[in-house]
Amino acid sequence: MSEEITLKKIDTFAQRDEVTSPTETHIEAKDFSLYYGDFEAVRKVSMKIPKRKVTAMIGPSGCGKSTLLRSINRMNDLIPSTSASGEMIFDGHNIYARNIDVVTLRARVGMVFQKPNVFPKSIFDNVAYGPRLQGIKNKQELSEIVEQSLRQAAIWDEVKDRLQANALGMSGGQQQRLCIARALAIKPEILLMDEPTSALDPKATAKIEDLIGELRKQYTIIIVTHNMQQAARVSDFTAFMYEGVLIEFGNTKQLFTNPENPQTENYITGRFG
């Protein structure tokens, strides 16, 4: 797939109810910075991510888009010597405040990673992992959640006969959809996707993109992607980041067709990056 964006394609895929301005804010960054030791990977980003819309983050490698995404459920905590300043407000609280329970935060903000990272367990156990953590032990209830999540992730028909099979036996695309199902099973409000299709072939990618189109009705989705066509196809809003700074954030169609910032224009027309 070439990185060139044609207007026609954008027109084809962005045919949705036009949203010009964010309606309701779900999560808000206020002067948010994130440091790896002394290195400021995200620099004073302020943005309001709208509820039940798909927000894409684009930008060249190392621009901090993944870091910003992982800041939303504090996955960066895993890396030693990270620190944050500014605020990331979710549900009225700054999630970087001292009294925030990371575990409950992550239960409300699901995440899908770059590479499908299914557990070496059965398909059922993979999906039931989150609900079990939340204390659901009833078998009936668990299988209902599993079925519902797998249906939502559009993979139910492919796996319903082999729920007890090891998840590692599935294809990459199926594994990634299983990861989405697993994230959905904890009933999150926000779904973070960190380049979810970069390890997949075009066919599997198309399936995931269709799935994102379905899921945007119920979830706030934030997706990091290197593929600008994908951003144009699936997102309502797009944020362009460069060297840790949020350059431009706005309606996808507008950003791709009529960017305000010349840097954005240079990037999406393939002049750098």
Partner: protein
């Protein structure tokens, strides 16, 4: 680099690699072959009637009727031997008593002459009295000479006969009609055919050291024992014994697989090595009970919880150092700390030994567990955390299961190490002779154990030469245990990895 040179180097390298592997294989073969060959002789050997007698009388094994029938035949075969010995004894006694009666006769005659001489003296016949006294003195001297000859005869007959008697007892067991010896080892003859032949040789030949050449070392000279009994009733004895030894011992190929599960009788002279095997199992499992939780928890802490810093790197250095400490130091530490300072038991005990061994294998377990945990893909951890799992949950449900093959391998390898270590248990747990322990006795009682008893048998046992087969049987069993554990580890690892891979 030119293409030819590169090819040549490649070939040289693979050649060296092959040679290294071949050398290793040969070394392994050289080590294992004698162990297996000689060790198997503890299990499969030519057992004599005495072996079957031990089995029947000491272990209640075998068919008593068949044994009695066989034993009657053997008694018949042995009877001429004992008959000859009895005859010899009787002959010797007869000879001695005839000599003694000669001596007594002379003595009596001398006394008579003395009284006669005294009578003559009082009658004033001094000349005749002198004559008689001279006669009396001559007789007395003759009697004295006879006495010393009897003494000589006695020693010349008795000493070799006693030696022969002893050698025969070692070969065939106590003689019929004798009081049963107290020591169990003296109640039976040779149980194994190879030892029977050695003992037969000892009966047939006497050994003496020839030091006549002062400039050279002494030479061992073997002389046929028959020479000592020339002209006596025992002269045909030796030939008969040599010709009929098979009938007297009835060697039969014997499978003694109970060698592993039998108690030892009379400190390993008879029976098997069960107390040692059981002791080794107790010590190994005991060490694992302490070392596995400590080691795995420490590894989890180091990998998942600890923040890298000076304290942690110091801890890591400590663990590496612990892995390099000589095992005898662990043994002395165990004695000083577990037994003398905190007194986990009053005497040496399995408990103290297990604790010491657990310290010994702790670094191995920590290291291998750490490596296994670090080898778990970060993605698993991220996935679990991203689903809202706490650190503890992540470790228990995702990281540990994925790291299990590596952890188990480390555990099984340390089990092999713990099973084979000698030095740490010398002062803390091992005794040379003991009964198999009950499980609760492990808290307070010492136990025999394979590694220590192998050492003990070949250095301190009073009958080392008699029971080489036991020693090799123990070595074989220990090596087999360790090899089986390793094999088990490989299989288990393969199985779990396969399960994880799907």
């Amino acid at each position: 680099m030119r293409l030819e040179t590169r090819k040549l180097l490649d070939k040289a390298f693979s050649g060296l690699g092959l040679i290294a592997i071949a050398v290793m294989g040969i070394a392994l073969l050289l080590i294992l072959t004698p162990i297996v060959w000689r060790g198997s002789k503890a299990f499969v050997f030519k057992g004599t009637i005495e072996h079957r007698r031990v089995m029947l009388e000491q272990f209640d094994r075998g068919n008593p009727d068949k044994f009695t029938r066989e034993y009657t035949e053997i008694t018949a075969a042995r009877a001429p031997i004992y008959k000859m010995m009895e005859d010899f004894e009787a002959e010797t006694i007869a000879q001695i008593s005839s000599m003694e009666s000669q001596m007594d006769a002379k003595k009596d005659r001398a006394k008579e002459l003395k009284t006669a001489a005294r009578a003559l003296k009082s009658d004033g016949k001094a000349d005749e009295a002198d004559q008689l006294e001279a006669e009396e003195d001559r007789l007395k001297d003759e009697a004295k000479e006879l006495k010393s000859r009897i003494k000589e005869f006695k020693t010349a007959r008795t000493e070799p006969y006693d030696a022969l008697h002893e050698a025969i007892r070692e070969l065939l067991g106590p003689m019929p009609g004798q009081r049963t010896p107290v020591l169990l080892r003296q109640q039976y003859g040779q149980t194994r055919w190879d030892r029977t032949l050695v003992k037969l040789h000892e009966v047939l030949y006497t050994e003496e050291w020839d030091y006549s050449n002062a400039d050279a070392m002494g030479v061992l000279v073997e002389t046929p024992r028959v020479k000592q009994f020339k002209g006596t009733r025992l002269e045909p004895f030796f030939q008969y014994l040599e010709e009929h030894i098979e009938e007297m011992m009835r060697p039969k190929t014997t499978f003694y697989w109970q060698f592993i599960t039998d108690k030892s009788k009379d400190s390993h002279i008879f029976g098997g090595i069960w107390p040692e095997v059981l002791g080794t199992i107790y010590l190994t499992l005991g060490a694992m009970i302490f070392a596995i939780p400590m080691g795995v928890i420490a590894a989890i802490y180091l990998c998942e919880y600890a923040k890298e810093g000076r304290v942690i790197s110091f801890l890591r250095i400590c663990i590496s150092t612990l892995a390099g400490v000589p095992s005898i130091v662990f043994g002395l530490f165990g004695l000083a700390f577990f037994l003398n300072t905190i007194q986990v038991s009053d005497s040496k005990s399995v408990l103290a030994g297990s604790l010491t061994l657990s310290l010994l294998v702790l670094p191995t377990i920590i290291r291998s567990s750490e490596e296994a945990i670090l080898a778990v893909p970060r993605a698993y951890k991220e996935a679990a955390l991203g689903l809202g799992a706490g650190r503890w949950h992540t470790v228990m449900t995702v990281i540990l299961p994925a790291a299990l093959p590596g952890i188990l391998t480390g555990i099984v390898i340390s089990m092999g190490r713990a099973a084979g270590e000698t030095a740490p248990i010398i002062f803390t747990a091992a005794v040379s002779v003991g009964a198999p322990l009950k499980i609760w006795e492990t808290l307070s009682q010492p136990t025999p154990a394979l590694p220590w008893n192998i050492y003990n048998l070949c250095t301190e046992h009073e009958a080392v030469d008699e029971i080489r087969h036991v020693q090799y049987g123990m070595v074989f069993t220990l090596v087999a245990i360790v090899l089986l554990l390793n094999l088990f580890a490989i299989l288990m690892r393969a199985r779990i990895s396969k399960k994880l891979r799907g």
